[in-house]
């Protein structure tokens, strides 16, 4: 396994061939893009074979030679099968649903084959080096979900995945690097607390603000979503093993707020963005109509999940 570390694509990335993807994002693994080396087990097997060969040759034992040659031939054939297991594989990568910074961004790798032969034990390696193995039935597809820590807001790209297989005997490991263009949107991390946003200007009723917005009328439970405040989690329900459920409180449905870049003061832009994110989440939680004003543009007043997503996307890509 030390060998694999030395062959880390990050360090020597320029030297390796990649499987290019077409304009439709589909990549087909070609014969000259597959690398293959014996595994540790393969080396041990080879060593045992060598001892068997030397012994049989020395004692001129033809039956010993026969079995040695048989096992060596099986290993030789298996090496080609390992290689064939990757050859012609169709790979497409797709981004997963948006996540917040600090969570894991997911990507879906779709492995397919248009041949009759099933592909056993095809593994997609994620950044942490974990294997995600799948079997691709002949003429069909298999999906593998890999994840990577979302460290920065914006678009998290997956420009390359490593596929590997050790089928059938685990004596050889064949792998290839497949280039891809999947992106997953990463929303900014919400701050823990944020000042209340200003009410929408020109609305007379806006002065009717309450000290604890969004905690008045209980509307019912809903499933936890990233970004929800832990204060709103129904811990009693969690203790009863009903899953992570959030108590939803509805405030005055008619209220409107503007979440404004200029209204929030913070030392650096990222902090400011995270404060805005919290405000957005809180506003959406409270069921308010809200708008977002940013230096680059404005998202008009709106309500609902889609609106929230749009606003968060603006913040993510700011």
């Amino acid at each position: 396994m030390g060998l694999r570390k030395r062959l880390d694509p990050g360090r020597l990335s320029g030297l390796f061939r990649r499987v290019a993807h077409g304009p439709d994002g589909l990549a087909r693994v070609g014969p000259r893009q597959i690398y293959i080396l014996p595994t540790k087990q393969g080396l041990r097997f080879g060593a045992v074979l060598l001892v068997m060969l030397l012994g049989s040759l020395n004692y001129q034992n033809n039956l010993g030679l026969l079995v040695t040659f048989f096992l060596a031939s099986v290993a030789l054939v298996a090496m080609h099968h390992t290689w064939l297991n990757l050859l012609g594989l169709l790979v497409r990568a797709r981004g997963g649903p948006p996540v917040f910074v600090g969570e894991d961004a997911t990507f879906e790798i779709i492995l397919g084959t248009d041949g009759r032969r099933a592909r056993e034990d095809i593994a997609v390696m994620d950044q942490a080096g974990r294997r995600h193995a799948a079997r691709v039935p002949g003429g069909d597809q298999a999906r593998v979900r890999i994840s990577a820590a979302a460290a920065r807001r914006g678009l998290q790209r997956l420009s390359e995945v490593t596929l590997e297989t050790r089928h059938p005997l685990h004596l050889f490991r064949a792998w290839c690097y497949v280039s891809c263009t999947a992106t997953t949107l990463v929303y900014p991390a919400p701050a823990a607390h944020a000042p209340e946003p200003s009410a929408a200007p020109g609305e007379g009723q806006s002065s009717r603000r309450q000290a604890h917005m969004g905690t008045d009328d209980y509307l019912g439970p809903r499933l936890y979503r990233p970004g929800d405040s832990p204060r709103q989690v129904d811990w009693k329900a969690y203790a009863r093993e009903r899953g992570l459920v959030v108590k939803q409180f509805g405030a005055d449905q008619g209220r409107e707020v503007w979440i404004d870049w200029d209204q929030v003061s913070a030392a650096d832009p990222e902090t400011r963005i995270s404060l805005l994110t919290r405000q957005l989440l809180d506003a959406a939680e409270a069921g308010l109509r809200f708008g977002l004003r940013l230096p680059g543009g404005t998202e008009g007043l709106g309500r609902g999940e889609d609106h929230l997503q749009r606003c968060l996307t603006r913040l993510a890509l700011l």
Partner: protein, 680 residues
């Protein structure tokens, strides 16, 4: 063994079923060794297996690191105790088996299982040092397939984790590996001499003839049903009375036992023959006998590589025969030997102390009758054996301290060793130098294999006497016995063995004859096994090369053949996998069929065209086809790109295309039938 137990990822942790399979495989691989290894070793290994199974059932029984160390020490000590050492074939195997079995108790990761599986491969190869039968090869071939299957199962692919699919994958691998195995076996360069020796040769040989003779020595052999050697004659074989296979030559006797007397060393000058005629060439495949002599027809004139010819015209090998040995010799059936040196003259006249007066009187009586004529005296002696009531029997009465005297004058019942030793002694008393030759007489033709078989039961002893005119002359006193006095009772005990020239088995019933036929057939299979598999050697490889006119390249020729043959075969094997047929979506296929039908009337689909555009173009060009094409596309487009269930659409589309054979537009007179129009 002291490796710290780190967190092992779940994917690397072995399952119970996998451990069970590995253990069963190791038991299967060990079973044939039980016959060959010390029971102490088998006992220990068996206990380890029991512990293994117990630990699978009850986790608490699984031994910890220190217990394992203890068990390892005990296992090593046990092997040491059984064999007084760790070197040599048996002890080495015992130690190896013990250690592999102990490793079964320490299977933490899948890698451990894979290691043990590889080591089982080694265990398989080691067994052929003990036994080289085809049955063992077939059995262990099955075990090898098990090893491969286990490796496939351990690979962890979701599709092959179970036994049956894994067996299918392993079977395919094995089938594809077989031709490669054959090529490697034929062409892989061999060693012509071993690099090292670990005492493997000992104990493999079957019992056979010894280089001494005393009453009962040969009759014991006759009861041995083993094969001694096989012979393939290049020309028609000589008659059965000529098939004297020459072995050790005995000079010295103490009155009971005959021994070679003279040292068996390569002579200063090769023995020469004054006359050699009726040359015959043949190939002998000698079964291992743990002795240094090779057998050849009386008298060998050529010396095969690896042997030398003694002054007594005996073929002696440089090393004892521990594995089947093949060699070619030429013999002269008619010959006259060269003169005798003084040492051998004296040795040929040596008599023991226990010669009795009545023996001397017998010889003196003959001498008085024939005078100086040695040849007449020999006839006199043979006549004596014939006339007097001498019986030839496999079950002679036991003889005391002076067997020759007792045999000649009292029991008169004996086997060839009795006749040969008393005849030789009588000749010496008459002043004629004589010696005993041990060997085999006869040979049974195996018509299936086209060769002769010589059995241990064909062992024989005869006498050679010296005459000034003829040199050493072979005299077989046993043949002088009146055939009426040959006792077949003993022969019935050796019915399984080959027939001896001296006993007829005509009386034997049909079952026995059938058994013998089966045995002949079995032996020809055995001989083929011996020749083509076990005996395949550097020489055969070189013969193959010279047939391909690559003989002068030697080993390089083998490699030059091996590599292209391997790659070519591998290429052919995998060609199918490389050019595998793609699975085409049935909808796409139907759509392509529609395009092909329309192309016949000049409406081929353009590569850029989507189905909707294509449909519009077809409808515009051929309004008569429009309803059918539109109906097709109405079904096809939602089924292909939308949510319409595919199975229904496929059936409907197939039906639509079934009788859709558009014909070219009739240019003139649309009423006329298109077919008739085409014909004009």
């Amino acid at each position: 063994m002291f490796r710290k137990t780190r967190m092992i990822p779940a994917s690397e942790r072995p399952e119970r079923a996998q451990i069970m399979a590995l253990t069963l495989l190791s038991i299967a691989a060990y079973l044939p060794l039980v016959r060959h290894l010390d029971p102490k070793v088998s006992l220990f290994v068996g206990l380890v297996w029991l512990l293994r199974f117990a630990a699978l059932r009850w986790q608490a029984v699984a031994p910890g690191a220190w217990v394992l160390v203890g068990l390892t020490l005990i296992g090593g000590g046990n092997a040491l105790l059984a064999y007084q050492g760790w070197s040599g074939r048996d002890a080495g195997t015992a130690l190896f088996v013990t250690m592999v079995t102990l490793k079964l108790l320490e299977l933490r990761r899948l890698d451990d299982l894979r290691l043990v599986a590889s080591l089982i491969g080694f265990l398989i190869v080691v067994q052929f040092l003990f036994d080289e039968s085809p049955w063992l090869l077939a059995y262990l071939g099955g075990v090898s397939l098990g090893v491969i299957t286990l490796l496939v199962m351990l690979d962890g692919g979701s599709g092959t984790a179970r036994m049956r699919p894994a067996l299918r994958v392993a079977g395919r691998l094995a089938l594809q590996a077989l031709p490669l195995t054959l090529i490697l076996f034929l062409l892989f360069p061999r060693l012509s001499a071993p690099l090292w020796s670990l005492g493997v040769e000992t104990g493999r040989a079957k019992t056979g003839m010894s280089d001494w003779l005393e009453p009962g020595a040969i009759s014991e052999l006759v009861l041995d049903g083993e094969l001694a050697f096989r012979v393939r004659f290049d020309s028609p074989p000589p008659g059965p009375d000529q098939l004297y296979w020459r072995g050790p030559v005995l000079w010295e006797t103490d009155g009971r036992r005959w021994t070679p007397g003279l040292a068996i060393v390569p002579p200063v000058s090769a023995p020469s023959l004054l006359e050699a005629d009726q040359l015959i060439e043949y190939e002998v495949t000698l079964e291992p006998n743990n002795q240094r002599w090779w057998l050849a027809l009386d008298l060998p004139v050529t010396v095969p590589a690896g042997a030398f010819l003694t002054t007594e015209h005996q073929l002696v090998a440089a090393e004892s025969v521990s594995a089947a040995q093949r060699y070619r010799v030429t013999s002269a059936l008619a010959y006259r030997t060269d003169s005798l040196d003084t040492e051998r003259w004296a040795a040929g006249l040596q008599v023991p102390d226990n010669v009795t007066p009545r023996m001397r009187a017998l010889v003196a009586e003959w001498r008085a009758r024939v005078g100086d004529d040695d040849w007449a005296l020999i006839q006199e002696a043979l006549g004596y054996f014939n006339r007097e009531s001498f019986h030839y029997t496999l079950l002679p009465p036991a003889l005391g301290s002076n067997p020759v005297d007792e045999f000649l004058f009292e029991t008169r019942r004996g086997f060839c060793e009795h006749y040969a030793s008393s005849f030789a002694l009588l000749m010496r008393l008459a002043g004629i130098p004589s010696r005993i030759v041990l060997g085999y007489l006869g040979g049974e033709l195996n018509r299936v294999g086209g060769y002769h078989m010589v059995w241990q039961s064909d062992a024989h002893a005869w006498v050679e006497v010296w005459s000034e005119t003829g040199g050493w002359v072979r005299v077989d006193p046993t043949a002088a016995v009146n055939p009426a006095r040959v006792d077949h009772r003993g022969a019935s005990q050796v019915l399984g063995a080959g027939p001896s020239v001296r006993f007829t088995l005509e009386q034997a019933d049909a079952m026995v004859r059938l058994a013998r036929q089966l045995r002949l057939f079995g032996d020809s299979l055995d001989a083929a096994w011996q020749d083509w598999v076990l005996g395949f050697s550097v020489e055969d490889q070189m013969a193959l090369l010279s047939r391909l006119r690559l003989g002068e390249l030697r080993e390089y020729g083998l490699v030059a053949l091996l590599l292209p043959a391997l790659s070519l075969t591998l290429g052919l094997l995998l060609f199918g996998a490389l050019r595998e047929r793609r699975v085409v979506d049935p909808l796409t296929r139907l759509y392509a069929r529609l395009g092909a039908r329309l192309a016949r009337v000049g409406l081929a689909r353009g590569g850029h065209e989507g189905p909707a555009d294509y449909g519009r173009r077809v409808s515009a060009a051929r309004p008569d086809l429009a309803p059918r094409v539109e109906r097709f596309l109405e079904l096809y487009i939602p089924a292909r790109y939308g949510a319409l269930p595919k199975a229904d659409a496929i059936a409907a589309l197939t039906a639509l295309l079934r009788d859709f054979h558009p014909r070219p537009v009739p240019r003139a007179k649309p009423r006329r039938r298109p077919r008739a129009h085409d014909a004009t």
